[in-house]
Amino acid sequence: MELADILFYVFAALTLLCGVLVIANPFSRNPVTSAMFLVLTIISMAGLFVLLHAFFLAAVQILVYAGAVIVLFLFVIMLLDLKEEERRKIKFFGVAAGLISVGAILGIFLKNLHATNLNAQSSPSIEGDTAALGKLLFANYVLPFEVVSVLLLVAMIGVILLSKKKLD
Amino acid sequence: MPISILTYIFCAPLLAALALVVVPRNYRVIIRFIALLGTFVSMVLAIKMFCQFVPGHDGFQFEQQIPWVNSLGISYHVGVDGLNVGLILMGAIVAFAAACCSWEIQTREKEFYILLLIMSGGILGAFASLDLFFFYALHEFALVPTFIMIGIWGRGERKNYATFQITIYLSIGALIALIGLIALYLQSGANTFDIPKIIEHVKANPIATNAQNFIFPLLLFGFGILVSLWPFHSWAPLGYGSAPAPTAMIHAGILKKFGLYGLTRIALPLMPQAAHHWMTILAWLCLGNILYVGWVAMRQRDLNLLIGNSSVAHMGFIFLGIASLNLIGITGAVFIMVAHGFLAALTFGLSGYIYQKTGTLEMSELGGLCRKLRFIGTALLMAAMAGCGLPGFANFVGEVSVFFASWTVFPVVTILAVWGALVIGGIYMTRAVRKILHGPLPEKYANVADATNVWRKLPYALLLASLFVFGCFPKLLTNQITPDATKIVSMTTLITAKPNMVAVSEIQSPKSENRN
């Protein structure tokens, strides 16, 4: 087993474990805990990205998600002053529904994973570094790039409007 | 390709509707003027088209085709032949008359006129279309305003119920027909929505009999619901009873013919075997229209319900003509479609006038109106007479041709149908005339005013004149229908059954030798 494979298993296990702790932490129901585990998930996923030679994305993942998004979450949690929620009774319906939907999706996934021959192997030629991605982004995807910038602008305006105390 | 006159005919009302959108709502005169102008242009062009039409010309005339979705074979394709030339003429005239009659609308005039114009333009377009997609879509475009208009401008206590009923019935009918049309598109294998092309294709490769037997009833009952085929008719009288007069005029006059036109244009030539199979059933069902609904009409106490029922009863004759599946029958059926368009528009227009002036259509409360309403009363009397098949009006020609046609195929049905036409029709029409126009005039209607203004008289005079012209000179229309009806009939290859009488006449009758 190569080092890369070992690292994969480590990061994958870390990602999934932290993911579980985001949605269901047996020790704490505090949203802040969930947010912190989400940071961990994202960081370990950045590791997976590196293993896939997507260096730029790994960097962006950490910068944007861990740096901006999660901070935003934390700000909101603090802003709302959410206390640790009291343990409500776990609704049977919620659990059952979740399990059923996950089961259904899982069934389909496994069936198809099994049925298709992926026949793909890692190719060392591809390198997701900044230069390569930048060329592609500003050559082939320049229009979507510009559109996304407009989207961000719209989102910003929307958030400002929503956050105003009174719409007048 | 130059733009066909047909495009102008059906786009004129639509453009007028578009123009109305930008007119401020308090410019009533302008709104009315634009609506009248749109329909008037359409009518003049339709008359011109009708006059220029060459009967027996091979293929379609005034054709125009613009490809649209090539992968599905959808194109904008309009054209006329004998089957729809009369319908378009009738539609354009009725639309103009309906626009003229719309003075009774006092609230939200702008929206009303827009919807009215959409209705007229849409249905004229549907009649002109030779492409299944536009054929269906434009009809739906015209159908939806009907519901809205009944809901908003309708009258009577049962307005909401009527709106629901008509909406549900017609939507279901249209849906069933849509399923049939899609199945037809898939089964024909021509991969095109172009009706002439499908017909050409099917001539070479007939649709499998199983498929026909499945698709034909879908079309028959889908279109049948749209035409108020018994027993799917109960939406019609109530819907028309509650609708504002112009809506009833356009719907009963023009829109209702869509299903019949679809049956003749599409279902018969494409699925001849199934057609033969179903025609006996259709012939008996149409007795439901003629006799049953005729009897129901006898019981009505409200003029509009009576007219509505009689209009349903008239559909029976058209169905009977189609069911007889021969040249005379199809021609007669198309003829009644045109004639009934004028007639239905006329009667609903007149009842709208009476309602406007007296505030009721309850026949027991009316009476003696002929004294006050000279013009309207005379017109209503004529309409009633035309409704019970009086010669001189166009309906008679169609009905009598249908009887001749069906006599050779369904003698028993014909006998009952003649009873329905002559006796039952006569009874309810004369009863209505007796109750509304004859007898003493109630005090409260002493000040009812007749239509004296030319504009008020114009729509009724126009419709009456059309009925007269086609009733006295039926060749004007039959000459145009016959060549194309022949094509439709020749597509239904099976030889129709000969009358039993031929066999009987071979037997020597000893008694008849005694005559001197």
């Binding site: 890369a4 494979d5 994969f8 298993y9 994958a12 999934l16 993911g19 985001v22 949605i23 269901a24 949203p31 969930s34 989400l38 998930t41 996923m45 997976l48 990205f49 896939l52 030679h53 997507a54 730029f56 994305l57 962006v60 993942q61 944007v64 901006a68 998004v69 979450f73 909101v76 709302l80 959410l82 929620e85 776990i90 919620g94 529904a97 979740g98 399990l99 996950v102 999706i105 996934f109 994973l113 992926l118 793909a120 890692s122 030629s125 591809i126 997701g128 991605l133 592609l136 982004l137 082939n140 995807y141 996304v148 989207l151 961000l152 719209v154 989102a155 929307g158 929503l162 956050s163 | -």
Partner: protein, 101 residues
Amino acid sequence: MHVGLEHYLTVSFLLFALGLLGVIMRRNLIVIYMSLELMLNAANLALVAFSRFNDKLDGQVLVFFIITVAAAEVSVGLALIVALYRRRQSAHVEDLTSMKL
């Protein structure tokens, strides 16, 4: 065993399933939102893996866009939650049933 595409896909799927479970089972809006982020990340992972194993960089560009859009979405979504909380004084799904007739 050599790590191949299916391994990455499995991880991606499991992460997605976790997110889904979170969305359906948790009742705190903020946590539901985090679960949504998990699902987005799962998709990102699958895309990067596909990109790697199909020898094309376009997948990574797509991920770039997803991250951008996710950022925008989070900002709007959180603003909505704040606005909602101001009005209802609650961030619990069960308290937000005004969609029922």
